[in-house]
Symmetry: C2
């Protein structure tokens, strides 16, 4: 079996937080939204349903647990959870905490402005919050 | 337990195709993209992780099976699968067949133009294709 190699664009846009049950949890470098991406370390997968059945169920469960923990950590109004992959085809799922008062409001975040790189202080704060999210996974 | 009632906006924007394993499969009325929404018939859920554990796993499996069957039916380049719900908070998941040559190209479909209502003929054709998708579920 081919080894898993993270897509270079995902590597450039995000930072590794932890690998949980075979899934990389990564922090997107965007100060505007608490935004994690989850990447199962399985070579060649592009869609959720490309994973072998047991890995699919595991990944879906990790997505739900991270979503729930992130909503609680941030007291978010809503979570947005999406597999898009039109540009980067390597399977990755976006998990984003949302508020009607945030920069995208009622709209999805894609197509609303551009990512705003975090300062070192913002990065440290968000990393700590995201590590609490991952530590809270049941 | 409160009875499940479909959100009126979802009811207005989409048509019922079938109910599979407790999940309503509905056709969005938009000629631009093959676009289904999946709504678990569970009252009060807003997030994937609001469902009881067994219903969550069932719903995630239905999402994956519909995604795979829709990709095959349409020979799509990519599937977009998303839980957003910033406007309609009732839990619903978008399943959309995508091509780089479609109207949104590399972008997610939200924020790109407005839905284009289907003609009766387009509706009949898409309904038939979507019913084949649902019949193909393993």
């Amino acid at each position: 079996m081919t080894e898993f190699v993270l897509d270079p664009r995902l590597a450039a846009d995000s930072e590794h937080l932890a690998t949980i049950r075979g899934v990389q949890a990564r922090m997107m470098n965007d100060a505007r939204f608490p935004w994690m991406i989850l990447v199962p370390e399985h070579p060649g997968a592009s869609e959720l349903f490309d994973l072998p059945k047991s890995k699919e169920a595991n990944f879906m469960d990790v997505i739900c647990r991270v979503g729930a923990a992130m909503k609680a950590e941030y007291a978010a109004e809503k979570m947005n959870i999406a597999q898009l992959g039109n540009v980067v085809t390597q399977l990755h799922v976006h998990v984003i905490a949302r508020w009607m008062s945030d920069l995208a409001g009622a709209a999805p975040i894609w197509g609303v402005g551009k990512p705003v790189p975090m300062t070192d202080a913002e990065k440290a704060e968000r990393r700590a919050a995201f590590l609490r999210v991952l530590a809270a996974l049941s």
